[in-house]
Each structure stands twice: as structure tokens, then as C-alpha cells.
Symmetry: C2
Subunit: 422 residues, 2 copies
């Protein structure tokens, strides 16, 4: 493992320091020069060194469907474009779709992503090839009154995924369980999956109260909100990341806070699909851990965390007509520390001695990042993926000055073009 010393690095708190990375960890932050022999000294003059980003909700392979259907109702989009296209997915499509997504994510400083999809073993292969971190999950759905996990092939895929990949690459690759949503599952099946997840000590990912019709539909169908319903099924006995949460009630938020769940706030997706605006300030006030997610490229259409942070901040300010909310510092915490926490990566998400070296370098001397009075403001309101000079995961540089160290981009693009026959 290469030992790095970053010198003259500007931090988010505006200090200028030297930072050492040995193995997968940050081992020094300060004014001096640590004793160790370093393989590489990187002069960060003019750059911001900060934690990379943890994308708490994605469907990576959906890069295949970027722009495939647009400007139509959610129902029409799903029924006429996305679902038929997903019927034609296969190993190769998901493999190259995932690789392209990972390349895009690394270029915007994303060091880890939580994913929910199918053919997950191919996404896992892409993750392992790239060196990025990921919490992958096989999205589970169920039909028919009384459905159970026993004999269910989708559930078996989930179990196999976990058996084959959970903890791989020194824990960079983790496998979570996933229930797609309340409306796409049957209670008996949900209870089975929840019990299994808790028994195995795994984490859970699910979509929750994304649209008004979903939320109200559940109340009509089951006499309770989706959050309450999952709670009653025992789902929250496992650490859970709930994607969207646009229509959570105040009680739902208190419930999620009480079980230590995370809500993945996905503002670009929510706006683009016309879902609405999640009440993030309220969630945080009530103690819910809020992370940030891009969702899939088909409903964004970027996998770009600078764009996602920017929109998160702006929609907070704009929807409440209050420029003092959606503060840069809070947005950064959401994008880094909270996301790492949601993935169970408690030794990551912050630039701190003893924590994982999941770091990015962002140029503060590009035409769009000058001047920088306060790096947190530059990071959220001005910086873009194009300012990212380096993305490092567990002390390994995966992306630097526009080049990838673990991915053959030309081969990925060629492969993607060949399989993307929609």
C-alpha cells in the first residue's frame, strides 16, 4: 500500500495542514511532517482536501436508461419505458451499466454508494474491479397473499449475493437486504425477510413514502403509514436506509429516529419525477439520520454529488423561502458522515486521524471556484465534479486528474455501447 503525505492541504474548516495516509487510514493531520517514509508527497496547494461522498441511494446499472423516457408521468414512465426495458436486463448490461455509473461517481468524488437492483453479482464484480465501496442489495418484491421466502428465487439470489460478496475487499463491499417498497410486497414475505435480516445481522434498504399516492395508498390499504407498517413487521430491528421519505409524517419521523434509521434524501429525483420536497430540516430536528442519494441515472440524470448537494441546499432554501436553511455545513455532513453511518461504515465519512482515507481533492483555483472565502461555501454552492482532482478510497487513488487507475474507460464505453441496445 502506498504511503501518502498530502502537504499544504486546505481543509473545510479553513486550516492549512499536512495529512498522512498509511494503509487504508489517515494517520496524521497537523502542521508538521510525520516521521514515516512516504512513497508519494502530494502538494495540495490551491486545493481543498476533504472527505469523499457516500451516496445512500442508487440503482447504478440504470445508466442504461439515462434519458430513455422523459417528461412523462411517473406511471407512464415506469409502465411504457422502464419496466419493459428492465425485463431485458442481463448480466452484461448490468455489468457495463454499473461500470459506467461507478466511473461517473468516482469523477464527482463519490467513494461509496448504496445500491438496490437485480443481477447484483455483476454490479459486485464492477465494484470489486473499481475499488469503490458499496452496500449492494438485491431488490425484493413479492406477490400473492401469504407469499413466503421459502423457495422464492429472488430471495435466494439475495442470500447468494450475501454469501459470495458480503465483506469482500476488506469490507469495502458489503451486502444489505432490500425490500423494494411496501406497495410491491406482501406482509408475510416482508415479515420473513425482516426476520432473516435481523437474524443475520444485515442492514436493510427500502423505498419509503416517495410519493403521495404511495403514502396515502398504504394508509388506505393497511390502515397505517408505510413507516409504521414496516415497524410492525419488524423491519426496523435491522439498521435501515429508507429512500426518499418525501411524505413522512411527523410521527413517522419520530419513529425512524427512535429506531436509528436513515432517510436517504434524493432531491434531484424527487423534483424530476414530480414527487415533491422532503422535509429534511424537520427530519433532522427530530433526530433522523439523513443521508444524500442520487437515485438511478434515469431519474436524475447525473450521478454527481456536487449537483446533488447543490440541489439539496437550494430546494431547502427555496421551498421554505428561507435562505438560512439548507446550510452548506449541514449539507456536507449529510453528504459525508451521515451517509457513511447509514452504510455501517462508522470508521469513515470524516477526515480524521484513525478514520478511513476516503478522501477527495477539489481545486479551489479553477475559474468557477475562485475566490474561496470559506471552503464549505465553495464545496456546496460553486464546486462541480469538474473540480475534483483526486478520489481516494481506503488510501488508494482511484481517480486522478481525469484519469482512472483501476478502470479502462475506453473499454467500458465500448462495452457499454455494445450492450446498450434499447
Amino acid at each position: 500500500m502506498t504511503k501518502y503525505l498530502f502537504i499544504n492541504a486546505r481543509l473545510l474548516d479553513n486550516r492549512f495542514v499536512n495529512v498522512a495516509v498509511e494503509g487504508a487510514f489517515v494517520t496524521y493531520i497537523g502542521d508538521g511532517r510525520p516521521e514515516a517514509q512516504f512513497d508519494r508527497v502530494i502538494d495540495c496547494r490551491g486545493n481543498l482536501l476533504m472527505s469523499g461522498f457516500y451516496n445512500t441511494h442508487c440503482h447504478a446499472a440504470m445508466t442504461l436508461f439515462r434519458g430513455y423516457g422523459e417528461d412523462m408521468s411517473l406511471r407512464e414512465w415506469l409502465d411504457t419505458r422502464i419496466l419493459p426495458a428492465e425485463d431485458r436486463l442481463d448480466d452484461d448490461k448490468v455489468y457495463y451499466g454499473s461500470l459506467l455509473a461507478i466511473a461517473e461517481m468516482l469523477a464527482s468524488g463519490i467513494v461509496s454508494f448504496s445500491d438496490m437492483y437485480f443481477f447484483c453479482h455483476k454490479t459486485a464484480d464492477a465494484v470489486l474491479t473499481s475499488g469503490i465501496k458499496a452496500n449492494l442489495s438485491r431488490s425484493l418484491v413479492s406477490f400473492g397473499e401469504g407469499a413466503r421466502i421459502k423457495g422464492d428465487t429472488r430471495f435466494q439470489e439475495s442470500v447468494a449475493l450475501c454469501r459470495d460478496y458480503h465483506g469482500a475487499a476488506d469490507g469495502k463491499l458489503l451486502v444489505d437486504m432490500s425490500l423494494h417498497a411496501e406497495y410491491s410486497n406482501v406482509e408475510s414475505y416482508i415479515r420473513d425477510v425482516s426476520e432473516y435480516t435481523a437474524k443475520e445481522g444485515l442492514r436493510m434498504q427500502l423505498h419509503l413514502s416517495e410519493t403521495l399516492s404511495e403514502h396515502e395508498g398504504c394508509i388506505e390499504r393497511r390502515g397505517k403509514t408505510p413507516a409504521r407498517f414496516f415497524y410492525d413487521c419488524g423491519t426496523f430491528l435491522s439498521p435501515t436506509t429508507c429512500a426518499h421519505g418525501v411524505y413522512l409524517s411527523d410521527d413517522d419521523m419520530d419513529l425512524l429516529a427512535s429506531v436509528g434509521a436513515t432517510v436517504s434524501h434524493n432531491p434531484c429525483s424527487n423534483l424530476k419525477l414530480g414527487s415533491g420536497v422532503a422535509r429534511v430540516s424537520e427530519m433532522m430536528k427530530r433526530g433522523v439520520n439523513v443521508g444524500l442519494g442520487t437515485d438511478g441515472a434515469a431519474s436524475n440524470n447525473s450521478l454527481d454529488f456536487f449537483r446533488e448537494m447543490y440541489v439539496a441546499s437550494l430546494i431547502a432554501k427555496g421551498s421554505s423561502c428561507d435562505p438560512t436553511v439548507g446550510k452548506a455545513a449541514d449539507i456536507l455532513t449529510i453528504a459525508t458522515k451521515n451517509g457513511a453511518l447509514s452504510q455501517g461504515r462508522t470508521d469513515a465519512g470524516e477526515l480524521m486521524i484513525g478514520k478511513r482515507a476516503d478522501l477527495i481533492l477539489v481545486s479551489l483555483e479553477d475559474v468557477n471556484t475562485m475566490p474561496t472565502y470559506d471552503p464549505t461555501y465553495t464545496a456546496v454552492y460553486a464546486a462541480k465534479a469538474s473540480n475534483v482532482r483526486m478520489t481516494m478510497v481506503d488510501g488508494r487513488i482511484l481517480y486522478e486528474n481525469g484519469e482512472y487507475t483501476t478502470l479502462d474507460i475506453e473499454k467500458i464505453k465500448d462495452g457499454f455501447k455494445q450492450v446498450c441496445d434499447y
Copy 2:
């Protein structure tokens, strides 16, 4: 002037064509190869060739204040940060601030911008150095009952600006008149300026109904909306671009449509400052010409038209919970044709034979622009400034593959750092 032939160019309508540029104009679009001798043939394979963008509202030199004050109320921001800082503006600050802004704008495919500020002769110098197009105006304010333009130094600056620069560089640089806003001016002065503007056949720029307090304050003060007030002062006898228009009433919209005014929709600024969401669909339905603007870098904080288009689309969809509005095609029209119209550049704003060669090339083979099913979707929902391969203004390439042909970027950055002493 270099004669260009773009071959294998993909257009927004998904045709693949060759496009000829001779002098400042597009002279051929089609399958064949025109007879003329071309100085340079550019193979556009894998790229989208489209009209560049017309930024209908900006304060270019405010790059100086990018991130200078954040996450505070509008009043506090203006009173404690921006206004005191503007008091210290001088020629050099505005010159380098403007150059940096122009560099950022060219990099996102902006070919022309409408500006409203002070020390405008320095912004004009920057514009002429760069080759970009601009409608510059000296922002006029007035105090004291009965104030008139006679003997007013700010007005004289405006007149001098027009005398010295209007029509320069073969009409690339135009000078408009400007009234800052209703609340920052006195009626007698407004009437004088409006009369002068109409007499000289100039265009007008002003801020209009940006905030609720401004709009309602005017109704309280003057018994009418700002739009109606300006109408009664004769302002709209001249073609006018009204920035923001967030709180226009339906009647205001009809009024603006009837006088052929443009509203510059500035979604990033409106959200960031907590102003609200302009009712763009309603404006367009009622026949108002709507353009797109970045506002200044201090309230955005980018001067990036891909970001601006994206936010415009998303806020339309998200605020109405309707994914079928804010359509990509409409957003593109707003960003190009409508903006050119607002600037009086009726021979520009579209990729068409006989129109100005204000063109950009956007890569469709970067990791974030693949796949492209429909170029309009890529342009609005996926593309970013980093995908811009070329920006051409009146047939002259100003930016290509990350390099500027008319600007010394290192000198500009150095000069900017020296003058930016806030």
C-alpha cells in the same frame, strides 16, 4: 475569418449533418459537402452541435463576491456583506471580476450575457478582449423626491457607456439602459430615463417583482404592482428584460406580454436567496417571452447554463408535482432563442442557415452523457459544462477543449487574486 465545416454533427433533433460557417454566419446545414474552400474541417462524431446560450441576467463582476456571504437572510446579506463590498469596487476589481466571469461563462457554452452593474466600461473592455457577446447596462438608482436625470452622474455614466461602446465589435457589444428596480428609484427619475431610452431606441433591463416584500411593498407605496408602475412611467415603450418576475400577477404577465417584454427566469438565484419560484409555465402560456439567467455569482454561485437549465426544469416539475412540465425542449428554447430575442439579436439564438454562428459542441461520449437516446434530454438532464468541447461566437472559436483562444487564463487568475482583497 476562418471558414469552418463541421461534419458528422448530431443536432438536437437527432439528425446527423454537416454544417458550414463562413464569416459570422451559418451558411449550410445538410447531408452534402458545400463547394467552398474550408480552412478547417471539424469532425463532430460523438458530439452534439447546437446553439450556444444567451444569459439574460447577470452581474458579471460579482464573481468577486462568490461565497462572500452565505446562509443568511437577504437583508443581512445585502447590508453586511454585499453593499459594503460594492462600495470598495474599482476599475481593476470590475475588470478582473468580469474576465473571470466571462471565462466561466464561455466554458459552459454561454455566447452572450446581459449585465447590469457599475464600472461598466471595464466590463466592456473585458467583453471586447474575450469576443463574447453582451448587452451591458449601468444600473441606475435614484433618491429624493423629484430627482431628475439632468446633472445626475450615474445617468451620465450610462450615456457615456452607450456613446463609447454601443454596437462595438460588429454589434457583439450592445449597451442597454437600466433601472435597478422600482423600490430603488424615484418616479420622476424613472420617467426621465424611460423617455430617454425610448427616444434613443435603446433596450431596458430592470429587476421586477423578485421578492414578495418588493412586490407587495410597491402595491402599498404606489397602489399598483411594479409592472403596472413601470408601464405607467413609459418604461415599456422600450423593449425590456425584467429579471426574476417571481411574484408577477396574472395581470402583470398579460401586461408584459402585451408590450413584448422578456422575463429573465433565474431559478438558482431565486431558490438560493429564498425568493420563491417564478410561474414560468403561466408566463409562457400568456405569451411572455421567457429567457434564462444566472444572476451574479454571489447568488448562484456558478455561471453555468447547464446547471441553470437543469434547475429550471426540475423546479418546474417539482414545484407543481408534475414531471410533464419543464420539458427539455422548452427549457432549451428559453436558454437560446428567447434569450437572443430579449437582447435584440434576432439573427441569432438558433442553429439555422443565415443565422449567427453562435454554436457549441457538447460531447455525447463522456461517462455522464452516455447513452443519448434524444439529444434534448441529454442537453438538459445530463450534460454539464465539463462536456462542452467548443464555444463559438459569430463564427469565431473562443473556447476549445478546455483552452481559451482570446483569454490568458493564468494572467486573469493572477490579476483576479491580486485585486480580490475582501
